[in-house]
Amino acid sequence: MAERTMIEAIRLALHEAMTEDDSVVVLGEDVGVDGGVFRATEGLHEEFGPWRVFDSPLAEAVIVGASVGMAIAGARPVCELQFSGFSYLGFHQLEEHAARMRWRSRGRFSVPMVVRMPYGAGVRALEHHSESKEVIFAHVPGLTTVIPSGPRSARALLAAAIRSPDPVVFLEPKSIYRSFREEVPDEPEVGDLRSARRVREGDDITLVAWGAMVRRTQEAADELADDGIECDVIDLRTVSPLDESSIVESAQRTGRVAIVHEAHRSFGPAGEIIARLVEQAFWQLEAPIARVTGYDVHVPYFAREQAYLPDGDRIAEAIRATVEEPS
């Protein structure tokens, strides 16, 4: 086992998939000779050659559209969009074709492709480089939207995404690409795109988070444990389809829930999670469900970026308020 950053873990997963399956190809802006804007594909061009790892024009519609065609024809494309903020140019291909092909062809064609894209704030970037709009993809039937929370989950989930018979949007929280290292096993590890994972056990409140917010939420939970508040922390991993059974089971046990995400608050992912809980855990709820989220403004430039993001204090405050609510 070796300690790896998340970007190294992603590179490992790509390397493993390409070694194992000749149909896996990698395309995107600068992913070939240059190794990708965040170096995720570094070395793959030299090792697997220009027919399997190649640069694309600066045109997201082409990247996604060409991938759809290759996937229908039998390849397993893993395309990279440089930032999720530019993915909308390829959204037409993703929504109108990738997500619909199995349904449209009544199961005759499937689209086994992965669209990787860095998303989220926290790296002091420019406009269009910090948004967290996972709901746009999660809202589309036929797409699986996956968000890893660290090196080990990134490697295992990307391996599973590449093996998936249907299109997967793989959102990579760029602020944790290199912010910490984690043990990632040398032997292949394939995750599960259908289940959330409990990363801390507790009886007092259920916390739901994903991506870069998992670590912040865990830190808040650690802090509150000193005051006797035991949090059940769930890393969602796959935003869509939502693993509601894990969340519902936990909420039925704790009766209190707080959801943390960096996406905008209104019509954000927490809204859907709360709806599921109201449908399935209503009679066990002891307090209103709390949301700790980004605000309903475009993500600010770097001077105010951290003020936009949920931080430990905001998370802890919401947890306390929810736990202390009399019922």
Partner: protein, 447 residues
């Protein structure tokens, strides 16, 4: 919508207050920030400004009531659709008979808000929106076959809590588990934590209570006037001294100071300064040499204080109050005297605020003007000592030469927390005070 103004948490661990004065009546129109009520906490009176503007619909309290944080005080401007704890309180008055309520709900499988509303309107009661309660509490009520709309809510805004439902169900089916289990678990955990904190607070207090003597009814010559609950300052004092006496192992060290010279000095130079001012000055001088008496002790932690704020007990018509002379160690004798006079006047006129009566690090209490040869004062927690003065009087004293002379002797009684200081420490501390009082020149040299 009706809006209810409830007692807010004033902080510092205070969770209840006594209503001293109600400044509004039902039907009054009130501007935001108008004072609606005066409440007493810790012997300081605070005016409560209204957070809303509007017409007073209901005043929920009257003078003398003890209100807890979250209790409704005043409700403003009601619409009929607003479900307010106030309305329910009134409805529930006089029909607390649970049997009656049970009968009313007999046969109802589930509570249905519409049926509920119908039932109420046909019986002439105001129709009501659902009572505030969490879903889990509603489920508990259903499991226990309790009509939640008939339960008096003790939570914020009149919210019905799981405990309220259980209380309402008492005598009903004790075997309804389910939701109860978890709540009990949480409660137990909380109790465990509280117990732990309590244990930390009270050093090794035995779990068992002292066997109580059988209370005997006092004889009465005439018809009794009726027992009255303690109210106001008396109640605050009662609780505070009881807490102190029960938790602090008090020892009182007694000594006398020869203040013949000091009295001569005072008569000549500062007839307007009280003996208390001189003793406060001497105590501050001695505290700087014996800092472990200028300290606070809570949660098993002793904090020897670098600053010095001296409480001085004042006897007033309403009872005992202890205003605090802040930063006493930075004041001259003259300033101490002036400040004490002002604090005394404000204490007697009832205009002290909570800041004026909190934060002391040491206390002086002088019963001398009223008499007494010695007494055992009670420490003001979390302080660790209190200095009591009895009456200074001409006294026969045997000098070092074996002669008997008449001197003015001031009895000094230092009560101290034996957890923090020992008898020898107290003796040394008091000796320093005595030495300073017996040498006015030295006393005045002290900063």
């Amino acid at each position: 919508m009706s809006r209810t103004f409830s007692l807010q948490d004033p902080g510092e661990g205070i969770h209840e207050a006594e209503v001293a004065e109600v400044l509004v009546a039902e039907g009054d129109s009130v501007e935001e920030d108008d004072s609606v009520m005066v409440v007493t906490t810790d012997k300081a009176d605070s005016e409560l400004p209204s957070p809303f503007a509007g017409t007073v619909e209901t005043v929920h309290v009257s003078v003398g009531d003890i209100v807890e944080v979250g209790d409704p005080l005043v409700t403003f401007d009601g619409d009929e659709d607003g479900e307010e704890p106030a309305e329910r309180d009134e409805e529930d008055e006089g029909e607390s008979d649970e049997g009656e309520e049970d009968q009313e709900t007999d046969g109802e499988e589930e509570e249905d808000p519409e049926d509920e509303a119908d039932r109420r309107s046909t019986s002439g009661e105001p129709s009501a929106a659902p009572v505030p309660a969490s879903p889990s509490t509603r489920r508990l009520a259903r499991e226990l076959d309790i009509d939640i709309s008939a339960v008096d809510g003790s939570g914020p805004g009149g919210r019905v809590l799981a405990d309220d439902v259980r209380k309402a169900a008492e005598g009903g089916r004790p075997d309804a588990e389910g939701a109860e289990k978890k709540d009990e678990k949480r409660k137990k955990k909380k109790e465990k934590k509280e117990k732990k904190e309590k244990r930390a607070k009270e050093a090794e207090e035995p779990e068992e209570e002292q066997p109580q003597e059988q209370p005997t009814e006092p004889r009465r010559r005439e018809e009794p006037g009726g027992a009255q609950p303690l109210r106001g300052w008396r109640r605050a004092t009662a609780r505070r001294v009881a807490e102190s006496w029960q938790t602090i192992p008090h020892v009182t060290h007694m000594d006398r100071a020869d203040i013949t010279g000091l009295e001569t000095f005072r008569a000549e130079r500062a007839p307007d300064l009280t003996m208390t001012a001189f003793v406060v000055k001497a105590a501050i001088g001695a505290l700087s040499e014996h800092p472990r008496f200028n300290a606070t002790f809570r949660d098993d932690e002793l904090e020897v204080r670098p600053d010095c704020h001296v409480g001085v007990a004042v006897d007033t018509e309403r009872g005992l109050v202890v205003p605090v002379l802040a930063d006493a160690d930075r004041r001259s004798l003259r300033e101490i005297g002036d400040e004490l006079e002002q604090l005394g006047e404000r204490a007697r006129s009832g205009s002290l605020e909570r800041d004026d009566v909190s934060g002391g690090t040491f206390t002086v209490t002088n019963v001398g003007p009223l008499g007494g040869t010695a007494f055992t004062p009670i420490i003001v927690p979390p302080q660790v000592a209190i200095l009591g003065l009895a009456r200074a009087a001409p006294t026969p004293v045997v000098t070092d030469d074996g002669e008997i002379v008449v001197r003015t002797m001031l009895p000094i009684c230092l009560a101290f927390d034996h957890r923090i200081n020992d008898g020898a420490d107290a003796a040394r501390f008091v000796s320093t005070i005595v030495a300073l009082l017996e040498d006015p020149d030295e006393l005045l040299m002290r900063s």
